[in-house]
């Protein structure tokens, strides 16, 4: 079945450092969505990417969808303590949204 892997599993950065998580799917995706889940919270939608090679920005967050529509990345510039949480990509394959394994981000002040 469809598998979506993310690396790294965990990253601990100092506030102000940059952070990147990478998402790879075993199959081509119709689109990819990114979610953030704070500790003890629920997944919150961040953004959706649809087009091959698409790049979208939200303030300090930059999202990219690969040319082959099988991979994606999320880059955070100058992390803040409010960025703490687990970032999930979720790929839309055949009729189902499958979540990636997630990257847990810890930011120290």
């Amino acid at each position: 079945g469809q598998q979506v892997m993310q690396i790294p599993q965990y990253q601990h950065v100092q506030e102000g450092e940059d952070f990147t998580t990478y998402c790879n799917s075993s199959t081509t995706l119709s689109n990819i969505q990114w979610y953030k889940q704070r500790p003890g919270g629920h997944p919150v939608f961040l953004i959706q990417l649809v087009k091959s090679g698409e790049v979208k920005k939200q303030k300090r967050l930059t999202f990219q969808f690969g040319e082959a529509k099988k991979n994606s990345s999320l880059h955070i510039t100058a992390t803040q303590t409010t960025d703490v949480g687990t970032y999930f990509c979720a790929g839309l394959g055949f009729q189902k949204l499958v979540f990636g394994t997630g990257t847990r981000l810890l930011v120290s002040p």
Partner: protein, 117 residues
């Protein structure tokens, strides 16, 4: 703030109990979902309802029984659960079914924390 409302927020039940989780959305969405999430793991799809009909069952054990009384409500009936079923149960909804045209964002509720003792 989420527009998908789940009750109860916390539930402790014994292995012989029967209980239900409830979910409600008033966004006019026609697809609703149940996901299960264990600690430090991604959400795993359990069921998808599209236009009030069950469209996907991810081989979930029969001790979990979904029900969609109308387009705004989704229930998950629980019976004879096992301790390993303890998890966060997330309800979600989207404008249309997952395979529809792009732009189909999925919105999650805050979840129901279930503990089976």
């Amino acid at each position: 703030d989420t527009e998908v409302t789940q009750t109860p927020k916390h539930l402790v039940m014994g292995m012989t109990n029967k209980k239900s989780l409830k979910c409600e959305q008033h966004m006019g969405h026609r697809a609703m979902y149940w996901y299960k999430q264990k600690a430090k793991k991604p959400p795993e799809l359990m069921f998808v309802y599209s236009y009030e009909k069950l469209s996907i069952n991810e081989s979930v054990p029969s001790r979990f029984s979904p029900e969609c009384p109308n387009s705004s409500l989704l229930n998950l009936h629980l019976h004879a659960l096992q301790p390993e079923d303890s998890a966060l149960y997330l309800c979600a909804s989207s404008q249309d079914h997952p395979g529809a045209a792009s732009g189909n964002t999925i919105y999650f509720g805050e979840g129901s924390w279930l503990t089976v003792v």
